[in-house]
Symmetry: C2
């Protein structure tokens, strides 16, 4: 708890709750599932908003709270959107964010202590998006929160939000899915597989048993995985603008990633310097096994699993939905969101697919709050009728793909 640090009107509650025995989707159980969460604002009974974090995010969604020991994206990762007076206004809503099982920010995962007093490692049960949702449901129960005013998620957090609509269709009034999809495409599955391979082929990974002072961490593998992640989050355009082919100077290579002797003839480029910096920052804050667990959960998620179609999976949901996508995002494309919008439409669920023109790539949902905030605020307050909310199917029919989506592609590839 860190209420003492926050000014009046900025109520925040940071905690870890032991939910006791928990059975995972795989059938495996653990005797004590601990779940770390952060909650902002005051609960009035009808104003709870669950925010679902992305792959390497944490419960620290807003810019205040207990952030001791966290850094990078784990720290206040969406404070431009969530906070007092922000799009998701913590003066009005009771915002809860829960670190998902399998992660490493306080919730049980491979790095936490198992029954034998040693870290679980890869003996921790496999984790799916459904496990995240069910753990969140149990955590909210323990906080006395029943029905949610809204569930909001970005990236794989959007998959988590979608899973709420399938698993607990009566518990959610408004669903916000930002820069996400009903499932990953095989290109992203392939990149994730290579990222995991980089970790598991790092000798320091040691079958997942690398905890403790006497073992080095698989930093090289985890660093490579993170670099691939960053390449997936950026677009050709944003990389052109950020780095071009500029040199960061010769001999400036980070010690963590030694280059070979023949390399010094060539420039160390800004793009490489950026990737090396990101790798170093990340290996300081994230657990390699968690990266394996969470990417597998993401890859495995398929909205239609157990149903005949995406639409059938969503049919029982009685709320409204907002999908936000970004034209420069090739990780979770605008086309994928449009396909998802079609599934909502087919079963008569009020949905708006709000397309944001951006060349920022997948990162846009984090770095362009001025474009994301208004539709999000208005939707959470008023649903699909919200003023700043736009929709690709203005008359409820098929979207005009030619005009709506041409910019996606030209912004992705024009130089």
């Amino acid at each position: 708890m860190s209420r003492t640090r926050t000014p009046v009107g900025r109520q925040v509650e940071s905690g870890v709750i032991d939910l006791g025995d928990h059975q995972f989707e795989s059938g495996k159980r653990i005797p004590n599932l601990e779940v770390a969460y952060e909650a902002y604002g005051e609960f009035t009974g009808q104003n709870a908003v669950l925010v679902c974090h992305g792959l390497t995010g944490s419960q620290h969604v807003a810019g205040y709270g207990d952030e001791s020991g966290v850094s990078g994206q784990a720290r206040a990762w969406w404070s431009d959107i969530v906070g007092p007076g922000k799009a998701i206004d913590t003066n009005e809503y009771y915002v809860v964010c829960v670190n998902v099982p399998g992660s490493c920010y306080g919730t049980s995962g491979p790095a936490s202590e198992g029954p034998d007093g040693e870290p679980w490692g890869t003996d921790f049960p496999p984790v799916t998006v459904a496990d995240w949702t069910r753990a969140q449901r149990r955590l909210l129960d323990s906080l006395g929160v029943g029905r949610l005013h809204a569930v909001v998620g970005g990236s794989v957090g959007g998959m988590n939000a979608l899973d709420w609509a399938v698993r607990y269709p009566d518990d959610v009034a408004r669903l916000v899915v930002v820069a996400s999809a009903a499932r990953l495409d095989p290109q992203c599955l392939g990149l994730d597989a290579v990222a995991r391979r980089a970790i598991t082929t790092d000798p320091n990974w040691n079958g997942g048993d690398y905890y403790g002072d006497d073992h080095p961490n698989p930093e090289q593998g985890l660093g490579l995985a993170r670099q691939l992640g960053h390449l997936m989050y950026l677009s050709k355009d944003s990389m052109d603008r950020k780095f071009g082919r500029r040199s960061a100077g010769r001999g400036g290579r980070g010690d963590a990633y030694p280059a070979d002797p023949a390399a010094v003839f060539f420039p160390y480029r800004e793009v490489e310097s950026y990737l090396d910096y990101q790798a170093e920052k990340f290996t300081d804050r994230f657990d390699a096994n968690s990266y394996l667990y969470l990417t597998r959960a993401m890859d495995d998620f398929d909205l239609a699993e157990g149903y005949e179609s995406d639409a059938a999976a969503l049919a029982a949901f009685e709320g409204e939905a907002l999908l936000v996508s970004f034209t420069g995002d090739w990780h979770f494309t605008t086309d994928q969101s449009e396909s998802l919008a079609g599934a909502f439409r087919r079963v008569g669920i009020p949905v708006a697919h709000h397309v944001v023109e951006s060349d920022h790539g997948h990162d846009a949902f984090l770095v362009e709050p001025e474009k994301v905030g208004p539709p999000l605020a208005d939707f959470v307050a008023e649903g699909v009728a919200g003023r700043a909310v736009t929709d690709t199917a203005t008359d409820g029919g098929e979207p005009d793909t030619d005009t709506d989506f041409a910019p996606v592609h030209s912004s992705l590839f024009s130089r």
Copy 2:
């Protein structure tokens, strides 16, 4: 030499020529540059065609010749295009293909023997595309070939071909640049940097000194690098078609790439199985140091280097040029080829930019010979006036990007 193996009319010459002392662009010298080449057909004095291979290709461009000890893409990598009666007809042209310095198919590179009798390793001089061109020039001199009827290259081989037009502008009548660009964009630079990092952080890489029976090869790192390469060569569409999200069955993982225990709950997908298979095949046939050397040469290539612009670099070239690009290629995009075509046009060089509608990704130049062959054959025979040659600027003015290039993008990202 392997003339004995080939039937009449299929003359082929495989050999390695020692060009003696050679100075590289870096200023470093080696006492004996050996260059492996293959030549098909009969030289008549005016009919020589140089084909430049891609990153991991070899001199074995056509489907006959001495292929002992080579496999994969190194073996007859363009036999659908080069051969008797093919688009580049070896009954008509004397086709020469040269393994580039830094590679590992007989031409000097890091794996070849240095002056001390040991493999060079990373003491081999850094290699640039200019070094490839200059070595090819010296090899052709030794074969008695002066002016070339054509230089043809795909992918980084296209950069090699462009370098010919800059470095030896009087020596080339017709230039063919397939699926290439004036330079790599930062997204591809980033992916290549990660691939190299995977090799140099493999402990078995050992600073580049892993040759001999008592050292294991850095197979894990090289395998990861190759997997990233394959992801760059495919498109979202081609991956959707080839793999979808289909499972290849549980427990089918290759031994070379052990997964962690918690992974077995999840399917081993076809995309992962394909990537693992490609990695295994590749590590059997390619040298890890060569992969470092050749990707650095590719990343370093910039057509405009030493000039004010791409156009200025090309200005002395007096031949004609054909650029072929593929709408589904995100490694070397149609936009990049169009920009290159603009450079030729600005200095008045006859050029045709032939865009092939394809969703095959970068691989298209290898796997769609029925689309590549006709424009290539007609251009080599008749120049830009060739019947099957199309051009984005039909009236010599600016191309109509809206109509010509919209399909690029929609085919890349539509599901």
